[in-house]
């Protein structure tokens, strides 16, 4: 719980920073999720009822209560990406990673998700891996991106 304490300290145990605290913790989890024990700990430390904390966690799309892959790959499916060929990108990723949206690869390296617009429509079709955005994707450039994450692992 040391990590959790550090984050709580950083935000001075302020209730209004709950979302900011949860975002940082999710990053620190290494698996893009919020472990139940951490959330319980935060609720106690902030003197908030668990249901309030869970309410917030489940309301916002970026939080997950289940472990995800080390790298979260989000394929944008909103209008601008849709008309620029996002479906092709999604199918390629499904094939390349051998998983469907919502699933995680066996090696725990990638989770594939479909997301809404993240403001990269000028380079659609776009994907996001963690904090990084990749656009103007072609089959070749997409494969190269995935390969670079595999090599880094």
């Amino acid at each position: 719980m040391e990590k959790v304490d550090e984050v709580l300290e950083k935000f001075r145990y302020a209730k209004e920073d709950l979302i900011q605290i949860l975002l940082e913790l999710q990053m620190l989890s290494g698996k893009n999720y919020l472990p139940q024990e951490w959330v319980e700990y935060v609720a106690k430390a902030l003197d908030m009822p668990m249901n309030k904390v869970y309410g917030v966690m489940t309301f916002y799309g970026m939080f997950s209560t289940k472990p995800r892959g080390k790298n979260l790959i989000e394929v944008c499916k909103s209008g601008p990406c849709h008309v620029s060929g996002s479906q092709g990108i999604e199918l390629m990723l499904e094939k390349e990673l051998a998983i469907k949206p919502g699933e995680t690869t066996d090696d725990g390296l990638f989770t594939l998700e479909r997301s809404n617009c993240f403001g990269a429509c000028d380079i659609a079709p776009a994907i996001k891996i963690g904090e990084k955005v990749y656009g103007n994707l072609t089959p070749d450039s997409l494969r190269a991106v995935i390969k670079s994450y595999r090599e880094e692992a």
């Binding site: 975002l23 993240f118 403001g119």
Partner: protein, 431 residues
Amino acid sequence: MGNTKILSSRFGKIKPDSVEEFVAAGGYEGLKKAITMKPEEIIQEIKNAYLFGRGGAAYPTGVKWEQAYAIPLEKGPKYMICNADEGEPGTFKDRHIMAEDPLMLIEGMTIGAFIFGAKEGYIYCRGEYSGIQKILKSAIKNATEAGYLGENIMGTGLNFNIKVVSGAGAYVCGENTALVESIEGKTGRPRRKPPYIKNAGLNMMPTVLNNVETYACIPWIVKEGGETFLSVGTEFSGGTKLMCLSGNVVQRGVYEVPFGTTLRELIYGLGGGIAGGKTLKFVHLGGSSGACFPEELLDTKICYNDLRKNGLSLGSGAVLVVDDTHCVVDYLKTVMEFFEDESCGKCTPCREGNRRMVEILEKLTSGRGAKEDLERLQRLARTMRNTSFCGLGQSAPVPVTTLLKHFAAEFEAHVQGRCPSGKCSMSGVRR
């Protein structure tokens, strides 16, 4: 077409978080002038500028600030909030401002703080823009070190700090009251209005909230004068607009155009026309909650009045170009899935309406649609527009009604089991 650059003049030319480079390129001249003026005078300049809110609702900023200024400070200082949620699909202009010239936005907020005597400001920036949040934080830190934020700003006695708060993936948090709830650390569901946030916003205190691009216009207006700003645009829409061009167009990107430019000039002139030698099918203007319309309306000027006369609205300034290889029913399903995902679930017309619309569109795209489905879509659209609790549910049906209006034959074809563009499976089974 004039080429006055009000917002993008420093884009790509300065290190975004460098106060020195910002000042050397004309930054903070608006604030320097503002502190020599009376608050009423600054507000009058903004009124003269005919600046309309760039976040989508197009409320006149001068009027908003005049009303906010009139609210007494008896409960304590007002908050300044910047809406940097930018969740509307097809919109990426605020991202450009924050990534390339964030101090322009910070300067605009500081001028506001000077008018209202605000002590605390917040930039609510969407969680997906985590990289941009870092640039903002660095720019704020540098501005504080240089004395443009913090204690006794430029010897005026003004103390003003700005905090960056991250969203966490909820489009509805772009709505004023939901945004304020989210800054308070709560679920971002819209509040009942009144009270309006100008009276009781963040922590139930008087709050001034504007979009990134709106704040970014303020320093120039103060520096050059409201009438100069107005003269750049049209009679009733002052200044320039950052337009976001996306979809099947040759040169996608953000373009700063003076009001009065036509959509055709933007798409075929600046944007280089439709990509791949194809032809235009329709334009989706203002984001997913905006209207879809065919080529005939392209000579409409980008101007709040002209657009309104044609039943359109500028929204966030998103211009999505869709070529004729695409199917309107398939496209609409994608759009309505967005609203189904993003409905906060607080009220029934929006929570259920979007879901039912997606179901109907799913039927139509798989060849299981019936004639009555088109009437059902119209009926749901009416109910949602009239009875939804917030702007999300009220405007979600706009693409439905506008596509039904302009492409009735294509919807009919789907009812008959045919997708003219061959995009829909029409397999008769659920996908």
